[in-house]
């Protein structure tokens, strides 16, 4: 920054920097025209400042403001919400730039910059964004310092260093507030998110319609096991249960809830914590069979699914327990049985015929189920992610013609066979497996782990999982999708899987990100109470949080005070100085207050000149004072005594407001 710049330009340049940086944080979310408008406004304002030209007049600005508002409304169909609000703020901030004249306007612009930073924090909280936010925060604070006092902070680095230092001092305060400031239950960052485009399972499955499964490394959820980890063939994460079939598409049942028989649970209990990515639906995932709903925000349905009150639009974490097997002494209810056997009339006739033949040959339902599985193993079925499309009567076409498909095809065909053979069956979708992350000690379940399987009702056992895909491609159960079909994976995925260190890096990054999110972003009321418990509070509540917050704030203030003790001591006058200040106060009654930069004898001289009646006292006291304050150090004891004498004399000093005799 050259010294030739006009004085006004320096705070202005910092304002530009703070505002432009704040806009940059949003630039990929903003409509391009708004970013361009902001850029144009900065360029125009810079031009005006350099050439000293006049700003656009108020009517023009008002018209542009109206146009911008209309533009934002046209683009977003609303002025509410994070995205539209941010766009509007950027547009109006840019316009405000064109009327920044005084320091006050710079403060307003900085307010906009801080608000945009806050909006960015609400929008995205990824670990990669953190350095950006910190940098922007530093620039904003530096700009604030320059605007408040442009003089002492020369150059570019000095304000940044000051801001950095100030932020470091504020860091303990931020940590304390983060830890102890009472939160509302739920995620703090939760804000209605407009971008609903989330991947994941849907509420229906039409095996014939999709002709390729998208491969996606997008995480679905992460799981940490507390204790025992189930073997791979029990890592079935149940999601939507699809019970209605129209011959082509399996759908989630709607409004048909039949009471199911009570079941008992067998096998080891697995306890685990799931961190679920937003997917826009209201189902949560759990291992079979989940024992109870994790919390009050979610219900455990009759078919043992977790259904939340609200769609999962933000990350949720929950702890659940499951046991793998069930037993029951009751039969399926009549209605439930009828429902789980329903097939569309007149469709897939060849499948129905085959089912009738096989059922007649099998002694019981379990034997029939086994026979049907053997059919898949025997008849040359092939697992592929790019199956041919299926004609009408999709199950017939698959079973007798194409015989190529992925989990959905097998689940659909198998469930159809079971129902046709009189065995209650339903399709379950969810995820299978997960990738172990040794650094974070959790399983990462990705969208590519999505799976579909079948549950059949066996008397005595209850609903029993059968995975027909496992017969066709047993490796699918043991390993992930990509081990099976390397060609299906994207280049980046293959790279991560085939090169060890890239894979390690990917896992490490995922672990760090997960830790960041679980420990920092999702640190809410529950985590606070957990912390309180660890600190020894028996029944954590708001009151303890307030107490801790207050205590730690006092601690922080004490620390700051101790840090700046020298400064404080310098600012706190000693007894002698207090007496001198008192003296100034007394003469102030006569309209002769001491000016801060006035030297002692000069002050006494001024008093003497203005009020000859006070001259003697003032000059003597001033001489005494400078002798004590600036004179050669005599014996400390003597000095102390002299100082006390001086203080007494100042206390005894009487200054009349006007000269004696009332000479006017």
């Amino acid at each position: 920054m050259s010294p030739a710049w006009p004085a006004r330009l320096r705070p202005l340049a910092w304002t530009f920097a703070a505002f432009a940086g704040a806009v940059l944080l949003h630039v990929d979310r903003l409509p391009a025209w708004i970013s361009l408008f902001a850029l144009g406004a900065i360029a125009l304002r810079l031009r005006l400042a350099l050439r000293g030209a006049r700003m656009p007049n108020v009517w023009l600005r008002a018209a542009v403001a109206l146009l911008l508002t209309v533009g934002v409304f046209a683009g977003f169909r609303t002025l509410n919400g994070l995205a539209a609000g941010t766009a509007l703020l950027v547009a109006m901030g840019s316009l405000k730039l064109l009327e920044t004249r005084a320091r006050r306007d710079d403060y307003v612009m900085l307010g906009v910059a801080f608000f945009l930073l806050l909006a960015a924090c609400l929008d995205r909280q990824g670990l990669t964004r953190v350095p950006l936010y910190l940098a922007q925060l530093t620039v904003n604070c530096a700009a604030l310092a320059v605007i408040a006092a442009p003089g002492p902070l020369a150059g570019v680095m000095a304000p940044l260093r000051l801001a950095g230092r100030a932020l470091l001092f504020a860091l303990p305060l931020a940590v304390l507030l983060f830890l102890f400031f009472p939160r509302l239950p739920g995620a703090f960052w939760a804000l209605p998110n407009a971008s609903g485009a989330v991947t994941g399972l849907s509420e229906e499955m039409s095996p014939g319609q999709i002709d390729a499964l998208t491969d996606s490394d997008t995480p679905a959820f992460r799981v940490e096991f507390d204790g025992a980890i189930p073997p791979p063939n029990e890592r079935y994460w149940r999601g939507p249960v699809l019970s209605e079939f129209d011959g082509t598409t399996w759908r989630r049942e709607r409004g048909h809830y039949y009471p199911e028989p009570a079941v008992g649970f067998d096998g080891p209990t697995y306890t685990y914590r799931v961190t679920l990515e937003p997917h826009g639906h209201n189902w949560w995932f759990a291992l079979e069979s989940v024992l109870a709903a994790p919390n009050r925000r979610v219900l455990l349905t009759m078919d043992r699914r977790l259904v939340a009150m609200e769609p999962v639009n933000e990350v949720v974490a929950y702890t659940a327990s499951s046991r793998p097997r069930t037993h029951t002494g009751e039969p399926l209810s009549v209605l439930g049985r009828r429902y789980a056997l329903a097939l569309p009339a007149g469709q897939n006739p060849r499948t129905l015929a085959l089912a009738a033949r096989m059922r007649a040959a099998a002694p019981d339902a379990a034997a029939y189920a086994r026979a049907a599985l053997e059919l898949f193993a025997r008849e040359g079925f092939e697992y592929t992610l790019t199956p041919p499309k299926l004609a009408a009567n999709a199950v017939d076409d698959f079973l007798f013609n194409t015989r190529r498909g992925f989990c959905g095809h097998y689940a659909s065909a198998y469930a159809t066979l079971m129902r046709a053979g009189g065995v209650p069956a339903r399709v379950v979708t969810g995820y299978l497996g997960g990738e172990w992350n040794p650094i974070g000690r959790y399983f990462l379940v990705k969208q590519s782990d999505a799976h579909a399987w079948v549950e059949i009702w066996l008397d005595g056992q209850g609903w029993t999982r059968i995975d027909p895909t496992g017969v066709v491609a047993p490796e699918r159960l043991q390993r992930g999708l990509y081990d099976l079909m390397p060609g299906a994976a994207s280049f980046a995925t293959r790279m991560a899987r085939e090169t060890a260190w890239v894979g390690d890096l990917v896992q490490a990054w995922d672990a760090i990100n997960t830790a960041w999110r679980q420990r920092v972003i999702e640190f809410g009321q529950a985590s606070q109470f957990a912390l309180l418990e660890r600190l020894g509070f028996e029944s954590p509540a708001w009151e303890q949080l307030g107490l801790l917050l207050g205590a730690s704030l006092v601690g922080w203030l004490a620390w700051m005070g101790w840090r700046s003790r020298r400064w404080l001591r310098g600012a706190r006058p000693d007894a002698l100085a207090r007496a001198w200040l008192t003296l100034g106060g007394k003469y102030a009654r006569a309209g002769l207050a001491r000016r801060p930069a006035e030297a002692p004898l000069a002050y006494a001289g001024r008093i003497a000149a203005a009020r000859p009646d006070l001259a003697g006292g003032a000059l003597a006291l001033a001489r005494e004072y400078v002798g004590l304050r600036y004179g050669p150090a005599s014996d400390p004891r003597e000095h102390e005594l002299a100082a006390r004498r001086f203080i007494r004399r100042v206390r005894g000093l009487r200054v009349s407001a006007s000269p004696p005799g009332g000479s006017r």
Binding site: G151, R578, A597, P600, L601, A602, G631, P632
Partner: protein, 306 residues
């Protein structure tokens, strides 16, 4: 000693009428072992002041009129070959004196200027083979015209820093102007002036100035003043540590002249304009008088600790 000093100052006041503050600053500069730059238009008594100082303080003095063709040797001296002894003999220039009046120093070439200024700083002169110490006390009073004139070389900042003080004399007020007109040329009175002090006295006074007490409280104030010049928005470069030392010595000298044994903020403020004025430069302006105003602003802005 102190009475002699007051007497000397009183004598000076009979020669230089109506300029008590400037006179005292000039004396303080001498006692602080600094050098003095007088900047003013011609004819306000710059030369008379220098001459009077030399006369009253009993110092040997020389005057060099600086011109554009002045060579360093014209100031320092020159080695001449002595036929009789078959040896080079250094013939000392006018610099070898106790009070040197360098008149219109900004008319000389930078080469001649720097010869003088180096001698001022080092208080010695080096020729090819020998180093000659300058006499003690050694006091340079340089004058310069403030206005940019054809054929002048303004002293750069680094050279200005070697002068402890810069003072301006200014026109006398109406009363003193009439007195001047009535009583005639002051300079004629000078040879009749009895010297009040001599070089030994000056050296003793200089030593006494260094012994004037400086308290921690005063150093706090002094440091705050200097720091303020370094952080002030309008000042291009703040005061150097050398300037800070000079300021302290000048304040000590002022305290001595005022008959005090310890330096007060009053003393610092009294000399601050003269010490800091020529060292401070406004960021955006070129007028050299600005320095004085900046110094006043700084002194008014920095609180005197109670």
């Amino acid at each position: 000693m102190s009475e002699r000093l007051q007497q000397a100052i009183a004598t000076l006041e009979t020669i230089i009428l109506g300029k008590p503050a400037q006179l005292r600053l000039a004396v303080a500069c001498l006692l602080a072992r600094g050098h003095l730059l007088i900047e003013d238009v011609p004819g306000v008594g710059k030369t008379t002041l220098a001459h009077a100082l030399a006369q009253v303080f009993g110092l040997a003095w020389q005057r060099v009129q600086f011109t554009s063709d002045l060579l360093p040797a014209d100031i320092i001296g020159v080695s001449v070959f002595d036929r009789n002894t078959q040896q080079f003999h250094f013939r000392k220039g006018p610099l070898f004196t106790q009070l040197l009046l360098a008149d219109e120093v900004n008319r000389a070439s930078p080469k001649a200027q720097s010869a003088l200024l180096e001698a001022m700083e080092e208080r010695q002169v080096s020729t090819d083979v020998t180093t000659y110490r300058l006499p003690d006390p050694f006091f340079v009073v340089a004058t310069q015209n403030p206005r940019e004139q054809a054929g002048t070389f303004a002293l750069p900042e680094s050279q200005l820093d070697r002068f402890l003080m810069r003072i301006q004399l200014g026109y006398p007020d109406a009363w003193h102007e009439r007195a001047l007109l009535r009583e005639g040329e002051r300079r004629e009175l000078l040879p009749q002036l009895p010297p009040v002090l001599d070089a030994e006295h000056v050296l003793a006074l200089q030593a006494a100035v260094r012994a004037i007490h400086v308290s921690d409280a005063l150093l706090d104030y002094l440091q705050a003043l200097i720091a303020h010049t370094r952080t002030h928005a309008d000042i291009r470069i703040g005061l150097s540590p050398r300037a800070g030392q000079g300021l302290l010595r000048a304040a000590q000298a002022w305290a001595a002249i005022s008959g005090r044994h310890a330096v007060l903020p009053d003393d610092v403020q009294a000399v601050f304009g003269a010490v800091a004025g020529h060292r401070l430069e406004r960021r955006d302006a070129v007028d050299s008088a600005d320095g004085q105003r900046l110094a006043e602003l700084v002194a008014q802005a920095v609180p005197v600790p109670a």
